[in-house]
Symmetry: C2
DNA sequence: TATTGTTATACTCTATAACTATA
DNA sequence: TATAGTTATAGAGTATAACAATA
């Protein structure tokens, strides 16, 4: 096994990380200025918005890079802002169900056009249809490969 | 202009952001545990390591997502740790020259193998040579496109 | 006047550990 | 005993504004 990356790999790695970083920076700016939302808060709202009904905190944590306490903190902020609502689960008394409010949906609708405009302008503008398909195929495989490794939410808690 | 993204674009966007997020998370973990470095600190050291000689703070800020005060803060931490050294510029009295120390180079060498292992294992493992070339080509174009837009470091300061 | 960099300060994000309550 | 979630707390990252020194 080689100690360093091949030149083509280096080039690809740098292009990917720099582009992803620039894109994320732009998206963060947009979400903050047009909706006063951090990226994580937007992720939470988007996930609740796409879900059929309320989710538990644990379900919500899956796929979000977050500690449990961090999620509790953000949920507290979003609830104070009136964008989500928490209630006790009827089936499991330990669980908390989190649902998005009308105000939460409205906030998502408020920032989405700008979000889409950024993504289109920065990411998709210089790409052909074939490029988009190829990129989706490649990164889809990479994502699936990464997901197959032990996920964060399944890590055991410290004792 | 359509208000939302095409399904293929959505899929590609999500795959890209999730994969990039997972990769960055893993890299951060590795840098912290094996070298006690934040990602930004590693970026600074890597940039100084690759440079011919010392850089000014402004040159160092270019390409790093950072405010000037944030860079000053990180430079202070790295200098306290003995990984970089600052000295007054002989040509411009206002400027500060930042160079990497032997200890700094050693720290980079210490974390690099693990860094490479993560990138190879997570990103390149599931990809063919053709995939890597295609990904590099596509993201290279995206990066160049983004770079063409007004960069952060050129934004005028607030008055 | 504009630019380089630092300082003071404050706010947000994130994590660890301890805790309560329920399964 | 294990799990769901919260709380308390602390540390790190980032930004704004004011500042001093130099161009």
């Amino acid at each position: 096994m080689a100690k360093s990356l091949a030149p083509q790999q280096m080039q690809t790695y740098f292009a990917l990380t720099e582009a992803a970083s620039l894109l994320q920076y732009a998206v963060r700016q947009q979400l903050q200025s047009e909706g006063e939302l951090s990226y994580v808060q937007f992720e939470i709202l988007a996930k609740l918005s796409a879900a059929d009904g309320p989710l538990t905190m644990t379900e919500l944590a899956d796929g979000v890079v977050y500690s449990r306490s961090g999620l509790t903190h953000q949920a507290g902020l979003l609830e104070t802002a009136g964008l989500i609502a928490r209630e006790a689960s009827p089936t499991d008394q330990r669980a908390t169900l989190v649902g998005i409010t009308d105000a939460g949906r409205a906030r998502v609708a408020q920032v989405l056009p700008g979000h889409v405009a950024i993504v289109r302008g920065l990411l998709f503008d210089p790409l052909s249809k074939q490029d988009v398909a190829a990129l989706g195929d490649i990164m889809g495989r990479v994502r699936d490969h990464m997901r197959a490794l032990p996920p964060r939410s399944s890590r055991p808690r410290r004792r």
